[in-house]
Symmetry: C4
Subunit: 213 residues, 4 copies
Amino acid sequence: MSKSLREPIFTLTTHRIEALGDGVFAIVMTLLILEIHVPQSHGGGGLASALAAMWPKFLCYGISFVTLGVYWVAHHLHFYTIKRANRALLWINILFLMCVSVVPFSTALIGEHYQERTAVVFFGVNMILISLVLYLHWAYATRGHRLVDPEITPRFVTSVKHVILMGPAVYIIAIGSSFLNTKISLALYLLVNLLYIIPGGAHLYLKHRPANS
Amino acid sequence: MSKSLREPIFTLTTHRIEALGDGVFAIVMTLLILEIHVPQSHGGGGLASALAAMWPKFLCYGISFVTLGVYWVAHHLHFYTIKRANRALLWINILFLMCVSVVPFSTALIGEHYQERTAVVFFGVNMILISLVLYLHWAYATRGHRLVDPEITPRFVTSVKHVILMGPAVYIIAIGSSFLNTKISLALYLLVNLLYIIPGGAHLYLKHRPANS
Amino acid sequence: MSKSLREPIFTLTTHRIEALGDGVFAIVMTLLILEIHVPQSHGGGGLASALAAMWPKFLCYGISFVTLGVYWVAHHLHFYTIKRANRALLWINILFLMCVSVVPFSTALIGEHYQERTAVVFFGVNMILISLVLYLHWAYATRGHRLVDPEITPRFVTSVKHVILMGPAVYIIAIGSSFLNTKISLALYLLVNLLYIIPGGAHLYLKHRPANS
Amino acid sequence: MSKSLREPIFTLTTHRIEALGDGVFAIVMTLLILEIHVPQSHGGGGLASALAAMWPKFLCYGISFVTLGVYWVAHHLHFYTIKRANRALLWINILFLMCVSVVPFSTALIGEHYQERTAVVFFGVNMILISLVLYLHWAYATRGHRLVDPEITPRFVTSVKHVILMGPAVYIIAIGSSFLNTKISLALYLLVNLLYIIPGGAHLYLKHRPANS
């Protein structure tokens, strides 16, 4: 059977991987809010203080949304250099999205139990797994210019790898910090994203052409 | 590292921002209904009156859906003039979608507690934040024709800014009205959308070409 | 302000309306299953009979999914003739999607209370509203060839209108039948879709070109 | 009426079927996690052991996500050969997506009751139905080169059919195994996917062109 199956040779495009990815990210981002339930208040001032008491959930919502933003931007940027797909790339993407889809659970867990190390570690490990699959995604696609432009230089490939690994490095520190105080971990989970957002940070390599070029 | 990272210069397209945006809007709009639960009635007439008693939830569903429609149309129209993206625009969009994603919570909150000022204020502040990020989106993209067509006139840029700010002006009045009666606020939350929907209103600048042009 | 706003004249495309529509339909279709909860059985045979007792929910899931399929196909087919959009068309679409988004609630309501006329009427009215907005969508876009190909004949426009109105006609009969027996209504809600699915039915006008043309 | 309806002959494109499909898959994949609820722990070690006790839910999440990945890849690959759509293909796709949308329920059922044969059989039958509709999809589109490239050989068509049917064959064995031990069934539900993922397996027919061709 294998011979006849080999017959048609397709060049897989990346269009539907990107569509599936955008869909999963959009859904995961919006599902986060479903884990925050409207409080059943009693009396006038009750609702305001009930909402105020929910600050860890709102904070974790913000952390997760921004972190998902970082991963979405990274996934998005990869596909400016990845020009083709193959079966393995499809599966690396599915693995990536599988880890991303766990984020609403991790977020609800840490939002509910932010003072428990177990929850903080679970969240950190979730993020490290996402980063490692993203690293695999990049390493696989660029190895020997497998699926990318021939003009991509080895130096650029390596630089992006370093950028991706900055995240897990901070997450490991954050996990370690949970043995001291889980609030330090939360702060690091929030701050790690600045590495990827602030201009001059990790995405320095991304510049748009001037309007009149 | 920063030097090698600068190497490839991409011109970011707006395609995937729009895809992520459409995804988030579609999900947020449809999640609204999940916050309305089927009543567990007892007897024949019980179900009809149970549904009738849920009018604030249906009303708030309608308000939020239409308001999300206004923001989606605005976001959509921006991208008829925004021709390129850059890293900052990606992040302004993620911030925008983060505020939009809170709407199901705000809607459930106001639907459950429409008589409490806290809920009404929360909803109004949510909408003001969305509008302000939308303003930032427009101001950033158009400043010095950064990411838009060179033909866009300063007068047009300013007009759109005014249109965007009409919403927050009404939301502030609505929030103030909640100190008198939260039903006035609800009415204003509903009516503000007419500014953006009725022909000759805020979107006057939008005209389609005749069919045989 | 209105003068300067009029300045840039855009021809709106239908691309993002279709994307938002596909998103909403995909989500509504998949949310239907969330309303069916896993039974908490006791013992071996308990689970099988618990699942069997849930037949009205599975039946209503099937009815709603197929009905949504009918509306999606119709919406999809409209855009083979609608070539442009304008502000009003955007809003008719948002109204259409707003009615479509209520379907998970209607489905859960009828699945939970299929023996109560209130639930059956609610479901039927929901479907009639969707059909009427779809009729408005078609009538608005085709009136004076406003947004469609100049080659579309008046006869074709009228035929599609008749096809759209066949649904509401059956839904009215189904609602009337609920005064006799709600199971007749359920049967009609299921069977009405055959008008749109069976070859030689309402979508006769749709034919694909042969493979080697 | 039928005559006038026949008038315009459209060639349906596959674009929106693929968009709806990607949307449904993205949502179903991400909804899976919603069925896993955050445990309400008591004390420090309580949360870790509560999470550990949830292993069947995490396992079933993994099985379902990967299985959905297999079906998405297959659906995706079909559209590299399917070049046109028609009304029947639209409906086969809707039927396919209807079966796919039941997966979050099947997964929650088996995750909650993995030791009960009823749950295991339900899951297996769900998967067999998806495979059979996928088979119908392929058989319908390729019969007489109805909707595919004329160059597709009968041998290739047959090979893909065999590949699709490998899944149901294993699912039948897994269902039978549930009479011995439901854990064997779970193991088979997990392992069946290797047939479709491992290089040299069922998707041998898929090869990408080398980077510099």
